[in-house]
């Protein structure tokens, strides 16, 4: 390739920057959702309404802890593809993927319960609660799909294009993990 003849300085690839800008806009979306929760909270005396049971604490906290821990294997995978170590990357991705799928399945199961327990047609609190959790789970689903894709892709061969993809996906997961933590805090806020 021509690159060999050029003086080249190491820097993040454009694919990584694309993910960074995407994460910026998604973080703003969650900022809007959390802002809406807080805004409506100050327009209500009882938040959540007194007739509703308070949201659960233990299960979402433990699940979130598990999900946030996947940042470690994602970091390992991201480093490994940079160094061209395909097998290490693949194994780290597999570990992360297993935990993420476990998290998503459990959360979706609880989500269906939540919709029955707090029907969004019931009150503004239930509406914004269900919307916020749904948005968070949708972002985890996107991350799971991305990981599934790269597990298939780097099974056989690692190219620069795929390596940048894994690095961008790792960055996405770090962001989603932070977002999930923020959503958890909002979810638990009635207990504070």
């Amino acid at each position: 390739m021509t690159a060999a003849t050029l003086p080249v300085r190491h820097a993040r690839a454009k694919g990584w920057w694309g993910m960074a800008v995407f994460v910026a806009t998604e973080a703003t979306l969650f900022g809007t959702l959390v802002g809406t929760y807080i805004y409506l909270r100050f327009h209500n005396t009882h938040w959540p309404p007194a007739r509703l049971p308070k949201p659960p604490v233990l299960t979402p906290s433990l699940l979130t802890a598990a999900l946030v821990a996947t940042s470690i294997p994602m970091f390992v995978a991201s480093r490994a593809v940079g160094a061209g170590r395909r097998e290490v990357a693949w194994r780290a991705l597999t570990v992360a993927f297993a935990v993420q799928v476990f998290y998503l399945v459990w959360q979706l199961h609880d989500y269906v319960d939540a919709i029955h327990r707090y029907p969004p047609q019931e009150s503004a609190w239930a509406s914004v609660y269900v919307t916020l959790l749904g948005a968070a789970h949708a972002h985890v689903l996107v991350g799971v799909l991305l990981n599934a894709w790269f597990l298939v892709r780097i099974w056989s061969r690692l190219t620069r294009y795929r390596a940048v993809g894994v690095q961008a996906t790792a960055f996405y997961w770090h962001a989603v993990n932070v977002i999930t933590l923020v959503v958890l805090v909002v979810q638990l806020s009635p207990h504070l």
Partner: protein, 636 residues
């Protein structure tokens, strides 16, 4: 530069031609990833929407020409008024500035061969087209959006607006924001990563600074609108409660979120216009922009302050006065970066030797209208004045001076300015100057009397008014002005079409412009530059030694990158080469993906949620097809 090139150089250019060639014919336009062709697709599509929005405006002006007119009824008027606003903002100015001008010009100005993500670029165009078709299909069922472009609740709730009108609005805008977000993301990464070697921030054209500021604003402002529209649809279709007091919601939430998007939006609209002004002025004043770094900072600062002023659209909603005072002060702050730019434009013309050709004349009109609209804007920052004139035609006058006078005039000037670059032919200067005077006089006649009728008490959004209020004469003048303006715009269209057919060949650089797009042929080749230019100042086309060095590099084969479909990636700060990016070839997947999304939105509109989910799943499959073809596989 291709004239009588020795055979080795010719061979390199032919290799580039082969690497960058796209499929001919209509299919080629469907699968294209060339930023110039996508820019042209954007240009012609937005022009169609501009015409539609203009016809809507003329129908309204005809209805308002006299008191008690019966041209169109109130329901039709509401739909036309709403669609006029929605079209002009979301389907004309944003896609025209970022989509058409940004797409076509940014890669050329920074010395790149394409946008950072060419297929994503195609996707953003096809999504935009899908959203436009979605929004305009509402006319076919006589249920076009009808609650104003700001779509305030509770009017927009199902109880008061039971048809599909507002559903078209909310879903159509969610759809449109996806397209705009992708476009803005692409522009940001292109500007960050694909600048020519040597183009550090202080050497980047001010046009690109303006595009960067507008794109960053889009990235951070659009989510508020998207969330707002999602809330509205969840409430309208599934019975959620966000905006109704009875269940703990709040109608003002809509307005807050709408204007958190809506005010940055004003700068998103007007910043590219600033960018065009800072391109045209140095060329025709024959002088580099004065206070270059200050103007660059001012462009970014306008975008930044734009996020802290949204509640000045809500001075009459009963929010606490202490809150309002903060927003009034922040709104006053916008004056500073705006004035820096106005003085810089005027001083550049002053110290240079200006040639008043059509593009510069439009910039002159722009500066005048921007000052008028800016002055009435400062008046609104005074809370009592705003409360007294809220919902009158004074407001309509103010924002049309900004949105039409300040945002569209530079676009019109820009169309003339870059016409030779895009087509290789000159426009007709005499017709162009005539079109300037028609649009200039038309704009003044249409929008200036609105200040007066507004102060006389005429409210906005009314479809008719009584005789004897003293409004008739002004309204008649406005309507006549509207048709003069339309004639001027039509003349621009005629000029474009005629000149495209039989204009004199313009050559590479008819105006002796300073930025990189003038260093390549007109129209530019698919690969933009035979040699990736190396930049040492903000006006590289005026650095003759550098450009001669580029020619010698072609002979030596340096920075030609003819081995594949390649463009250099550079570092974000100083523009040092960090990699050579292999760009993807043309692809059918973006248009297919956009097709599935369009289908999904129509299914959501008709409440077929499960089928809509299947359409989205189909879109995921198109993304698999998309990603199976990696750019590097072409090289092997």
């Amino acid at each position: 530069m291709a004239v009588a090139a020795p055979s080795r150089e010719r061979a390199r250019i032919e290799a580039l031609e082969r690497a960058w060639l796209e499929r001919p014919g209509a299919l080629g336009w469907l699968t294209t990833v060339d930023h110039k062709r996508i820019g042209l697709l954007y240009f012609w599509t937005t022009l169609v929407f501009f015409a539609a929005g203009g016809i809507e405006a003329l129908l309204m002006r005809t209805q308002l020409a006299q008191s008690g007119e019966r041209v169109i009824g109130p329901e039709t008027y509401d739909q036309l008024m709403t669609m006029h606003g929605v079209t002009m903002i979301f389907f004309f100015i944003i896609p025209m500035t970022t989509g058409a001008f940004g797409n076509y010009l940014v890669p050329l100005m920074i010395g790149a061969r394409d946008m950072a993500f060419p297929r994503l670029n195609a996707l953003s165009y096809w999504l935009f087209l899908g959203a436009g078709i979605f929004m305009y299909s509402s006319f076919l069922v006589h249920q076009a959006p009808n609650a104003g472009w700001f779509d305030y609740v509770p009017l927009a709730l199902r109880r008061y607006d039971g048809g599909a009108n507002v559903d078209f609005y909310a879903l159509g805008l969610i759809f449109n924001t996806v397209s705009s977000t992708i476009g803005a993301l692409n522009l940001i990464v292109t500007i960050f990563k694909l600048r020519a070697p040597g183009m550090s921030w202080n050497r980047m054209p001010l046009f690109c600074f303006a595009m960067l500021a507008a794109s960053l604003s889009l990235i951070f402002a659009l989510p508020a609108l998207t969330a707002d529209c999602i809330f509205l649809e969840l409430q309208r279709k599934l019975g959620f409660h966000f905006f109704d007091q009875a269940h703990g919601g709040d109608p003002l939430l809509w307005q807050h979120l709408f204007w958190i998007f809506g005010h940055p939006e004003v700068y998103i609209i007007v910043l590219p216009a600033f960018g065009i002004a800072t391109s045209i002025i140095p060329t025709f004043a024959r002088h580099r922009m004065v206070a270059f770094p200050l103007v660059a900072m001012a462009e970014l600062l306008v975008a930044f302050i734009g996020f802290g002023v949204w509640a000045h659209h809500m001075f009459a909603t009963g929010i606490a006065t202490t809150t309002l005072v903060f927003f009034a002060a922040a709104s006053m702050l916008v004056v500073i970066p705006s004035t820096i730019q106005i003085y810089a434009w005027l001083m550049t013309v002053n110290v240079g030797t200006p040639q008043f050709r059509a593009p510069l004349m439009f910039i002159g009109g722009f500066i005048l209208f921007f000052v008028i609209g800016g002055l009435s804007g400062i008046m609104f920052a005074a809370i009592p004045f705003d409360q007294a004139t809220t919902d009158t035609y004074f407001v309509v006058a103010h924002f049309h001076f900004i949105i039409f006078g300040a945002a569209v005039f530079p676009l019109l000037g820009g169309i003339y300015y870059w016409f030779p670059k895009v087509t290789g032919r000159m426009y007709d200067e005499r017709l162009a100057q005539l079109s300037f005077w028609l649009t200039f006089v038309g704009t003044g006649l249409t929008f200036f009397p609105m200040h007066i009728v507004g102060l006389l008490g005429m409210t906005r959004r009314i479809y008719t008014y009584d005789h004897g209020l003293g409004w008739d004469a002004y309204n008649l003048v406005e309507t006549i002005g509207g048709f003069v303006l339309a004639a001027g715009l039509l003349l621009i269209g005629i000029n474009i079409v005629l000149s495209y057919r039989r204009g004199v060949p313009s050559g590479r650089d008819p105006f002796h412009g300073g930025t990189l797009e003038w260093t390549t042929t007109s129209p530019p080749p698919h690969y933009n530059f035979a040699v990736i230019p190396t930049v040492s100042s903000p006006y590289p086309n005026w650095d003759e030694a550098d450009r001669e060095e580029d020619l010698r590099k072609l002979a030596r084969g340096e920075l030609v990158l003819a081995d594949g479909h390649e463009t250099p990636e550079t570092t974000v700060n100083d523009g040092a080469i960090s990699a050579v990016a292999e760009m993807p070839p043309e692809s059918p997947w973006p248009v297919l993906a956009a097709g599935t999304v369009t289908a999904a939105f129509f299914l959501l509109l008709t409440s077929h949620y499960a089928t809509a989910g299947m359409a989205f799943a189909l879109m995921l499959l198109t993304l698999v097809g998309w990603n199976l073809h990696e750019p590097e596989e072409g090289v092997g």
